[in-house]
Amino acid sequence: MKKKLNIKSNILKVKKPLVKKITRNNLEEKVLQQTDELRIREGQLKQGANRERLSANREKLGADREKIAEEQIHIQNKAMEATSDGIFIIDTQRPNFPIVYANPSFFALTGYSKSEIIGKSYFQIYGADRNLRVSQEIEQTLRQGKSFHGEMLNFRKNGKKYWCLLRIAPIRNATGVVTHFVGTKTDTTLMKQRDLEIEEQREELLHVTRVGKLAEFVSSLAHEISQPLTAILSYAQAAQRLLKEKDPQVREILQYIINDDQRAAEVIRRLRSLLKKNKPSFETLDINEVTNDTVTLIMAHITAKNKVIKLDLGSNLPLIQGDRIQLQQVLLNLISNSLEAMEENPASHNLFVKTSLKNDTILVQVKDSGCGIPQENMKKLFAHFFTSKPDGLGMGLSISRSIVEAHDGHLEASNNPKGGATFYFTIPVNRKND
C-alpha cells in the first residue's frame, strides 16, 4: 500500500514544476498554440462524429433492408403455404434427390404427411402405385438437370386416383449449377372429368346417331328390296296359275321361288323390327340450351379443325316441345357438315349458329363459309343415300329432316350470297307456355 502512495506523489511532483515554468512572456504563444490544437481537435472530432453518423445511417439502412428482405421472404413463404398448388423443392446436391421442402397443399394433394415426404428421395415417394414409365422419365429428366412438364394420373396415399399437372424447373446457383428443383403439382381432376364427360356425351350422341343411321339405312334398304321381292312373288304366283295343272315340275320350281321369296321377306321384316326406332321422348326445351350443349360437345373438334364457331342466340325465346337427344343430333349433323364443307377452304374460318323467333316458330340457322351446294344437288340433298362425300352414307340430312318433321318443323338449305351454305330448321313454339 505504501509503495503505491509514493508513486502517486511522484506524479504530482513532476506536474507541479511544469506549471511553475510557464512565464508571462510565452503565455500568449501558448494560448495561440493551444487554440490551434483545439481547432484541429475540434475538426477531428467533427469529422469523427460525421463518420459515426454516416455509419449509423448505414447500419440503419442495412437493418431496414434486412427487414424488407425478411418481410419479402415471409410473404413468399406465406404465399407458398397459401397456394392451392402443391409446391416442393428437391435438393439435387445429394445423390438421392431428397425433398427439402413441401407446402401444405402438397401434403393435402398427395395424402402423405410431412415426415413421409421431407428428406425422402423424390423418386421414391409415390410408392408402388406409381406409373413406372412416367416416373422413370421424370428421374432421367431431372438427373440431366432439365425441366419436366406433364399431365398424369396419380394416386393419393389412400390409393385414390387424381389427375395432376406436374411441372419441375431447375434452380441454379451463381455459377449456373443446378442445386435444386422446384416442382408444382396442380390437381386437374375436375377439369379432366369435365373433358371426359363431354367426350362421353359426344360419343353417346354419335352412337345414337350411328344407330339411327343404321335403322334408317336398314329401313330404306328393306323398302328397296321389298319392291323386287313383291314383283318376283307376283310373277311366280301368276306363272303358277297360268300353268294350272300342266308341267308339275315347273310348278314345283315356281313354288320354290315363292317360298324363298317369302323367306327373304321374313328376314327383312325381322331386321326391321329389330331396329325399330325408339319413340322420341318429348319434353319442354330451351333451344339455346340445346344449342349450347351441342356446341360444347363438338367444340374440341371445331378447334382441332382450326375453325371458329360464333353463336348468336336470341334472348327470351319461347320454349319448344322436343326430344333433346334428337335435336342435338340434328344440330351436330348440321355443324359437322358445315365443318366438312369448310375443310377444303382453309381461308374460311367462321361458322355461325343463330337462334331466333320467326312467326310462332323457333328458327335455327347454321351458316358456313364453305364450298356451298351445287345447284344440281339442291333437290337431292335430303334424299336417302344421297351424298357428295367420298365416304358418306347419305343418311345424315335425311335423318335430320325426318327428325325435324317429327317435331312439326321444316329443314331447308340455301346458298349464301357471299359463298357457303345455310341450313336452317324451324320448330313450332310451345303454345302451352305462352
Binding site: S219, A222, H223, S226, Q227, P228, L229, T230, A231, I232, L233, S234, Y235, Q237, A238, R241, L242, D261, Q262, A265, R269, R272
Partner: protein
C-alpha cells in the same frame, strides 16, 4: 263384266307383276306410276278398286287416299306397302280404306280382299 283394278305404285316392275298376277284372276287391271297420272286418267265416279302404294315421291299414299275421300268418291282403296307400322291397318281403316297389305303381297290374300270389296 270383270272387276276393274287400278294400281298406283312408283315402281314399274311391281305394277307390272301385280297386274300380271291379277289378270290370271280375270280382273281388268290398269297401272299408274304416280298419283297424278291416276287422277288425270280416271274420274272419281269411274268404278274400280285402287291398290295404292304408300311410299311414293310426290304425294304419298295417305295423301292420295285423303284426296279421294275428300272428293266424296266411294272407291275402295287397299294400301300396299313394304313397311308396316303397328298401327298401319288401323290407320288405313280409319282413313276409309278397305285394308292394308304388306309387300311382298300373297296373291290369294290380295284377291280375297278385292273380292270382299266388290261384293259389298
Amino acid at each position: 263384266m270383270s272387276v276393274k283394278i287400278f294400281i298406283v305404285d312408283d315402281d314399274e316392275s311391281v305394277c307390272r307383276a301385280i297386274k300380271t298376277l291379277l289378270m290370271t284372276y280375270d280382273f281388268d287391271v290398269r297401272t299408274f306410276n304416280s298419283a297424278q297420272s291416276f287422277f288425270d286418267a280416271i274420274s272419281p265416279d269411274q268404278p274400280g278398286c285402287l291398290l295404292l302404294d304408300i311410299h311414293m315421291s310426290g304425294p304419298d299414299g295417305w295423301e292420295v287416299q285423303k284426296q279421294i275421300f275428300a272428293s266424296g268418291s266411294t272407291r275402295p282403296v287397299i294400301f300396299i306397302s313394304a313397311e308396316k307400322k303397328d298401327d298401319a291397318t288401323d290407320r288405313a281403316l280409319k282413313a276409309g280404306a278397305v285394308g292394308f297389305l304388306q309387300k311382298p303381297v300373297n296373291g290369294q290374300t290380295l284377291v280375297d280382299l278385292i273380292n270382299t270389296t266388290s261384293k259389298s
